[in-house]
């Protein structure tokens, strides 16, 4: 995606001019803008989703309620689950989330999307060649596994509940949460045990 460096100063100037006019017209204050940026940076992000996943792994009752209705994230004090659908990866089914028309993404549990999720390449290809896309992410999905792609075309938001990694039986809920990556909750990665990850990276 083009982010023309020569153009950036002009864009920054346009944004500054717009803010100046909107303040003048009473539509926002610089402080409100700052406060929203603080929220983007501190209050939302994939740690919320990771807590949800870890809880679902250790608490079958919560998991059942979560798969029934994403609003169950409210039990962990996380707001915004009213339009959330959580889909579960299993050895037979793999879920992947995309938004082909714009960049819909489950802010409540994952925060702001990474640039690749918003890229033309991901948006165009995830629905027509998900296996090829996942291979670029280093994730080979065997032919026997069905891939379900969720194209977020309305206000429903999708989060993937990844498979709990083998060998994680004795980890605490907090230790489990620390394993869960943003990419795993989008469906472009699996959750790995730290050792396994080190081996894979080696």
């Amino acid at each position: 995606m083009a982010n023309d460096p020569e153009q950036e100063p002009y864009v920054a100037l346009r944004a500054k001019a717009l803010e100046s006019l909107l303040i003048e017209k009473g539509l926002l204050t610089a402080e409100a803008v700052d406060e929203h940026i603080r929220e983007f940076e501190q209050d939302i992000g994939p740690l919320n989703g990771a807590r949800v996943v870890a809880r679902a792994w250790v608490d079958p009752g919560f998991k059942a309620r979560l798969l029934q209705a994403g609003a169950a994230i409210g039990e962990l004090g996380i707001p915004g689950g009213g339009n959330l659908v959580v889909v579960e990866n299993t050895p037979a089914e793999h879920h992947l989330v995309v938004c082909t028309l714009c960049s819909c993404y489950p802010w409540a549990v994952l925060g702001l999307p990474p640039t690749w999720y918003k890229s033309f390449a991901y948006r165009s290809r995830a629905v027509i060649e998900p296996r090829a896309v996942l291979r670029e992410f280093g994730l080979e999905i065997p032919d026997g596994v069905t891939i379900h792609v969720h194209d977020s075309s309305a206000e429903v938001r999708y989060m993937v509940l990844p498979e709990r990694p083998a060998g994680s039986e004795r980890l605490s809920e907090a230790a489990l949460a620390a394993l869960v990556t943003r990419d795993a909750m989008i469906g472009v990665a699996k959750v790995a045990m730290p050792d396994a990850a080190a081996v894979a990276a080696g």
Partner: protein, 221 residues
């Protein structure tokens, strides 16, 4: 509309480029634009989310593809505020000129007037009861509206199965154009990839979309 934003199934954009340890924003102005949208966009605010999306889609196709993500957001915020009469293009250009000449220019003191009331939306009839149940086979309609729609081009005239009901939700195709919310039942519809992509489909794949009732017809047996 069949715009360049309707990217599902398009070729030619290359591999998915990822950035290690990507920052949340790549420039300070991006964070501010993201906050503008949060503050200004909503059903009872300056413009609706549907109008915001339609504003991005109305960008000239070459500009859409050339602009960065938050540049597209900024373009739509500007065009929606101009459309709603909140500001004019001349005001914007004048302010850009002022700040280009003098980056520290202090704009006139803020007028502590209440912000303009958002444009009243035309009334909508209440949503009808859902016509389809989970498991029903449906066909998406072969429609090609020039306005905003959330039925992607790759899923027109295709056969799928109702997977989930979501209750009635605001219809973007009217709401984006100030024609009212007209809530309709929303469904998750699952399509076999082969229905969408024919023999070009990868094996063992489905695609699900969240689609409003008026995008759908009962499938023939």
């Amino acid at each position: 509309m069949h715009g360049v934003h309707d990217l599902g199934g398009m070729h030619g954009f290359g591999p998915v480029a990822r950035e290690e340890n990507e920052p949340l924003f790549h420039a300070a102005w991006e964070a501010r634009v993201c906050a503008f949208e949060e503050i200004l966009c909503g059903d009872d605010r300056s413009f609706t989310l549907d109008a915001f999306r339609a504003g991005i889609e109305r960008m000239a196709p070459a500009n859409y593809l050339r602009a960065s993500y938050y540049e597209r957001w900024l373009a739509s915020i500007e065009s929606n505020l101009i459309h709603e009469g909140v500001l004019t293009n001349d005001e914007l250009e004048a302010r850009i000129d002022l700040l280009r000449r003098d980056p520290d220019a202090v704009p006139p003191p803020a007028v502590v007037a209440p912000p303009p009331a958002p444009r009243a939306q035309p009334p909508s009839p209440p949503a009808a009861a859902p016509s389809f149940m989970v498991g029903d086979a449906v066909m998406t309609r072969n429609v090609h509206p020039t306005g905003h729609t959330r039925l992607p081009r790759y899923a027109r005239g295709k056969r799928g199965v109702i997977q989930r009901l979501h209750g009635a939700q605001t219809f973007p195709d009217t709401n984006a154009h100030g024609l009212g919310a007209h809530p309709q039942p929303l469904y998750t519809v699952q399509f076999p990839a082969r229905e969408l992509w024919g023999e070009s489909a990868e094996p063992g794949q489905s695609v699900s979309l969240d689609l409003w009732e008026s995008y759908l017809e009962r499938a023939p047996n």
